[in-house]
């Protein structure tokens, strides 16, 4: 029966090409716009580390003095050197890493390349195992290397391609800011989106090219790059002082179960109380322990414009659908005579309904294909934009499937009312009037 209905649908659609084209165009435009914006939203609000995000937490404490206490309810968004080091050394989590960003000048020795700047991440040893960073060659460093401020680096595969033509460079020396550091590892392909562990860079930044122990970066007095938030007499400079009342480091922990998270939060409160007793903190304990996705939500990393575009596109899709409902109604009602004949020959209402829905489905599928082409065009246009996330706007298989399901679902929904109305005709009346 389905094949027959399909044949009927195609014949009917061919009979009135302009009306068919109009319906397909309306669905295609609506679907194209919705899918373009939805894909951008999907890419931007995605989970940067799907397997690990539920066990990663971002502890926040409030080390400020009591000035302006009433005006800010949230604790600070980063940690100071003292707190970061205290929390790191307490080792109360399964894994923990303290980190910050920087920019280093690299002086290539082995090629004719000019010196260039590269983004760097100064971190402690757990950075790699905690975030599940893949290695192409070599490995990260150990806690002992952190303690001894070992002169070593890990580089990204992109930097490795640039400097060593993609060959295993572990054991070679890398000169940066006038110091030679031994390369111990080369990362595999790694670009978490958003750049969750330090949102001060820009939300959708590329991963850094150079990674080195935080202690080494401090020994070499490398310049800090990122946000510095001070209170009291905290100073500013290219490299915040370790004793300064400024926050400029990010601290992440891995807690494998919710129970451990609850215990860790307790620990943060105790820590704040202890620091207050010591006179370092002045406010009552105010801590947060958000997990990775909670942190991204709180930081509102998805640009407001992107959400607005999704709203708009779906409003537009609704207009297109209502339009299609109207056109289908006109189309089905025009065929009252033909449907009357089928009814008179014994077809049940259900059969007519099925036939008309097949026709609606065919329109939906064609609209879906058109919409997909428009979405490709739309995403291409998005990629031409200057926004930092622009390059990420690509359609993945999941979204491809969603496109067709949305188009099909929308057109079937649009076909329901017209098909039902068309089935209500009285066969006798239709036969007589013709």
């Amino acid at each position: 029966m389905f094949g027959y209905y399909l044949d009927l649908a195609l014949r009917s659609l061919r009979r009135n090409k302009a009306l068919t084209a109009l319906m397909v165009l309306a669905i295609a435009l609506g679907i194209g716009a919705s899918m373009t914006t939805l894909t951008v939203l999907h890419v931007l609000s995605g989970d940067p580390l799907p397997e690990r995000s539920s066990t990663l937490y971002y502890p926040q404490v409030d080390p400020r003095d009591s000035a302006g206490h009433d005006s800010d309810k949230e604790p600070m968004e980063q940690v100071s050197w003292t707190d970061g080091m205290n929390l790191l050394q307490a080792k109360r989590a399964d894994r923990q890493a303290l980190m910050t960003g920087g920019t280093v000048a690299i002086q290539p020795t082995q090629s004719a390349l000019d010196p260039f700047y590269e983004d760097a991440r100064f971190a402690t040893a757990d950075f790699f195992p905690m975030f599940g960073v893949p290695f192409q060659y070599g490995h990260g460093w150990s806690a002992a290397d952190d303690d001894s401020s070992a002169r070593l680096v890990v580089i990204s595969s992109k930097l490795n391609d640039k400097l060593f033509g993609g060959k295993d460079s572990t054991g070679q020396m890398l000169r940066l800011e006038g110091t030679a550091l031994r390369i111990v590892g080369v990362l595999g392909d790694w670009r978490p989106n958003p750049h969750f562990y330090d949102l001060n860079v820009t939300n959708y930044a590329e991963s850094e090219g150079v990674y080195m122990p935080l202690s080494t970066s401090q020994d070499l007095q490398l310049a800090h790059d990122g946000s510095v938030d001070c209170w009291g007499n905290g100073g500013a400079g290219p490299r915040p002082d370790h004793s300064a009342t400024c926050v400029w480091l990010q601290f992440w922990v891995q807690l494998d179960s919710p129970a451990q998270a609850a215990v860790y939060k307790e620990f943060l409160v105790h820590y704040s109380q202890e620091q207050k007793a010591l006179g370092r903190f002045q406010r009552p304990p105010n801590v947060r322990l958000r997990n990775l996705m909670g942190w991204l939500d709180y930081q509102m990393v998805v640009p407001g414009d992107v959400r607005l575009q999704v709203w708009l596109a779906f409003g537009f899709l609704l207009v297109c659908l209502v339009n299609t409902v109207g056109l289908m109604l006109a189309k089905f009602m025009r065929r009252a005579g033909e449907l009357g004949v089928r009814r008179a020959l014994g077809a049940s209402r259900r059969a007519l309904f099925a036939q008309l829905l097949v026709e609606a489905g065919v329109i939906g599928l064609s609209g879906g294909i058109g919409g997909l082409l428009l979405a490709f065009l739309g995403l291409w246009l998005v990629r031409q934009q200057p926004a930092s996330y622009a390059a990420l706007a690509h359609l993945d298989p999941g979204m491809l499937l969603t496109t067709f399901l949305l188009a099909l679902g929308a057109s079937l929904l649009a076909g329901l009312l017209p098909a039902w109305r068309a089935c209500q005709i009285t066969p006798a009346l239709q036969l007589k009037s013709n």
Partner: protein
Amino acid sequence: MQIRPVLSALRKHRVATVLIAMEIALACAVLCNACFLIANRVQQIRIHSGVDERALAAIKLTGFDEKDGVDLNARVLSGLATIPGMRSVSVINAVPFGGSPNNAGITTDAAGKQFAGVVNFYTGGPGSFTALGLRLIAGRAPQDDDYQPVVHFVPDDALVWVSQSLAEHAWPGVDPIGKEFWVGRPHFRVAGVVANLARPSPGEGGPSTIEWSVFVPSQPGAHFAGTYLLRASPEELSRVLRDARAAIAKIAPDAVLETATSQSVASLRETFFQQDRTMAGILLGVIAAMLLVTALGIVGLASFWVQQRRRQIGIRRALGATRGDILGYFQTENFLIVTFGIVLGMLLAFALNLLLMTHYELPRLPLYYLPIGALILWGLGQLAVLGPALRAAAVPPVVATRSV
């Protein structure tokens, strides 16, 4: 034209009528709100920076040692001043639209209890106040001994010039001259008010805080070096900037020129608002596509009705109705349906606006958008129905005598 027969005919086509009215209503809601969003973006793009944008450019150097800052300032100031056409070179920390703001929360009492918002501090070396072209509306201009050395990110105790918008926010209704404020320990006293002065990244703290800026006359030094303000006549600015960027390579071979920020203020502004312009473009595109789809929908349904009523039209024509009568009938019908839609659409537009207001920093939809939206949709409806209605008017009276 009598409305009663049109209405009773519409009652026979209730579903289709409701559908078109709904489509118009949705289109009206989206149209009004999208236009409002565009107007908001355009307003943001057009903000007053308060400086002579067409005559100013910035040069930003990084990568030099902090201890070389004093020497670098001296070399750059004297080196760039010799470029023909250069009116002035001065040290500054940032320019409007150039990013890198120097934000800090201020309090209007020494104890730090009366929080007055997060404001941006522009530190400017000698000559920068005049070079920026700030318009003084109260107080006096900075004098030579007002320029204090920078201790942390600003001088510790200094006279400052605030924008009118900040003055009205921090000291509403009183004369701001002589008023004091604090950032923790550092203390400032207002010596003058300028008409406008936008932040380096206007809009980051919300639309009402765009001009919350303070100008602090500061002595260039180790903590205050690397960014320079160039002034030239608007016609010569692009050449002067090109020459200056070329000269930097010789004047300061140890420093790196940040190309993205070493631009004229006009082009920094252009880049800064690119995203907003794109968004306005997308909104315009959506509006155009939606109006097109709506119009095509009306054409489709009206054509169907014309075809369905060929016989009746023929009878009316045979009974003496003119072509104009038939044309008028379809136009009236369309006008009525669109009017239903618009009435519903105005309510929807307000509902959508309320929804958007809860998610975005948007003001309430001004009432005058509604009549404008209504006029556009009425026009669109009449235009769309014109084709089918003309076809209806062309139906010859003889159709009445044929039994289809």
